[in-house]
């Protein structure tokens, strides 16, 4: 085993980790915000918006992310009105295109995850909040969102781990994140196994850390689901 080569490879790949993390965190952030908008349209009660949201979710979940990314990267420039608009300097950047397509795609999945979280909110608990005079945004902020988010968290963790892996596709639109740098190294050294092994270890460590953080968050948010005391007889199996 060529330890110095592995060490050198690791060093080169680690230098690309900030780019992978930037792709990941920006797309999760914007994708999450967009998902909130999509889920609001989906369940808000307006049939036109709801249909649009359904279409959005179908398109971005139903087609390969790689193709979405190519369409954003190579496709947007085909439209004159985009090429001549003020956003074009940004959209010409591979990094911006990668974040944009990653965010658009994860928003589709995340919107569905949030929607299932919303469906798990017990109507009785919403009713109790209405009965003390809560409505609108206050009701969402204090009662609905916290309960829905707790229900959505396990599925959301999975989606976030998927996003770490999806950043690898950005290499195909020339963003130099970990996988892209690994491929460049391979083309220079022809040592496929060692380089990809190093890259895989980096992704595993990243995801391990992210999963630990999510598990911690889940633990923090769910003291009510852990048995503090044995369930006392006398309580009907009410919503919890």
């Amino acid at each position: 085993m060529d330890i110095p080569f592995l060490f050198q490879t690791m060093k080169t790949l680690l230098a690309a980790v900030p780019m992978t993390l930037a792709l990941f965190s920006l797309s999760v952030l914007f994708g999450g915000l967009l998902a909130l908008l999509v889920v609001w349209m989906r369940v808000g009660g307006n049939p036109v918006l709801s249909r649009f949201a359904r279409g959005y979710i179908f398109v971005f979940r139903g087609s390969p992310l790689l193709i979405q990314m190519f369409l954003v990267f190579y496709g947007l420039g085909q439209f004159g009105f985009i090429r001549h608009s003020f956003v074009w300097p940004a959209l010409r950047e591979p990094f911006v295109c990668a974040v944009l397509s990653l965010a658009l795609c994860t928003a589709g999945y995340t919107a569905e995850i949030f929607r299932f979280g919303l469906r798990a909110v017990p109507p009785r608990e919403i009713e109790a909040a209405r009965a003390i005079g809560m409505s609108g945004f206050l009701l969402v902020r204090r009662i609905i969102a916290p309960i829905a988010f707790r229900h959505a968290l396990p599925a959301y963790s999975t989606e976030i781990v998927m996003m770490v892996k999806s950043t690898a596709l950005a290499s195909l639109v020339t963003v130099w994140e970990v996988t892209g740098v690994a491929q460049r190294l391979i083309s220079q050294t022809y040592r496929t196994m060692e380089v990809f092994l190093c890259a895989a270890i980096i992704y595993l460590v990243l995801n391990f850390l992210i999963l630990q953080a999510m598990a911690l968050l889940e633990h923090r948010l769910s003291p009510h689901r852990r048995a503090a005391a044995p369930l006392v007889p006398g309580s009907l199996p009410v919503s919890r």
Partner: protein, 256 residues
């Protein structure tokens, strides 16, 4: 009766589809009144209570809470509240206790109790906590304040739910079968709390199947049948000679 009218309901009608569940119910509750609402399953008791705080919207009729009339308008042929703000304000003045407690499962008992005063009434946190702790003391579950609803017995959960409603300093308390989901041995602790509330002069409207409560604690009993008020009077009148044949038959099923 000279005391103030806390709640006045006039001629409430409510249908679900073609099924007319409430057919013109009227009722006045004065300060300190404890009114027991009795009736067979499906007679419309819950629907009536829910119409009062607008969890259901009545098709017709008038509701006045402590002198303030709830404004209604007709929209697309349906009767709807004119102002969401007013609905929220009125709901904050009416405490509701549900059969299945409906505590917020992700919050501790203390957080459940301070939620309304803190976020709806927007009062200072320290004040809310002090009052909540006093209320939990009063309903006898002070030591459970940092526990979660799932970790409490049904009787404790219902007492917490009562404390949560009281924290809003309501003008009228509405109870929808507060003890029906409880094991028999836990009913007493909840009824005791309700009784002490009644003795302190709280105005209460209580849907119940507890005949002892109706007889001994309330000062007025209303018997509902098929969406109408069948009998209405003091417990002495109704449980004495005054009840209708339907009422006699109804209480007969409770073996009293």
């Amino acid at each position: 009766m000279a005391s103030a009218t806390r709640l006045s309901v006039r001629n409430i009608h409510k249908s679900f589809g073609t099924h007319e569940v409430l057919r013109g119910i009227s009722l006045d509750a004065h300060d300190g009144d404890v009114i027991s609402l009795l009736g067979a399953s499906g007679s419309g008791k819950s629907t009536f209570l829910r119409c009062i705080n607008l969890l259901e919207v009545a098709d017709r009729g008038e509701i006045v809470v402590d002198g303030e009339r709830i404004e209604m308008v007709t929209k697309n042929g349906r009767n709807v509240p004119a102002s969401r703000k007013q609905v929220d304000r009125i709901r904050a003045e009416l405490g509701m206790v549900f059969q299945s407690f409906n505590l917020w499962s992700h919050m501790t008992i203390l957080d459940n109790v301070i939620e309304g005063p803190l976020h709806v009434l927007k009062r200072p946190r320290a004040e809310c906590i002090a009052e909540a702790e006093a209320l939990l003391e009063k309903v006898g579950i002070a030591e459970k304040r940092h526990a979660y609803p799932a970790h409490l017995s049904g009787g404790q959960q219902q007492r917490a739910a009562i404390a949560r409603a009281l924290a809003m300093k309501p003008k009228v308390m509405l109870f929808d079968e507060p003890t029906s989901a409880l094991d028999p041995e836990l009913v007493g602790e909840v009824l005791r709390v309700m009784r002490s509330l009644a003795e302190e002069g709280m105005t209460m409207l209580v849907v119940t199947h507890e005949m002892s409560f109706a007889r001994n604690v309330s000062n007025r009993v209303i018997f509902m049948r098929s969406g109408e008020i069948d009998s209405d009077g003091t417990p002495e009148e109704l449980f004495g000679k005054g009840g209708s044949p339907a009422f006699r038959q109804f209480i007969g099923t409770f073996g009293s």
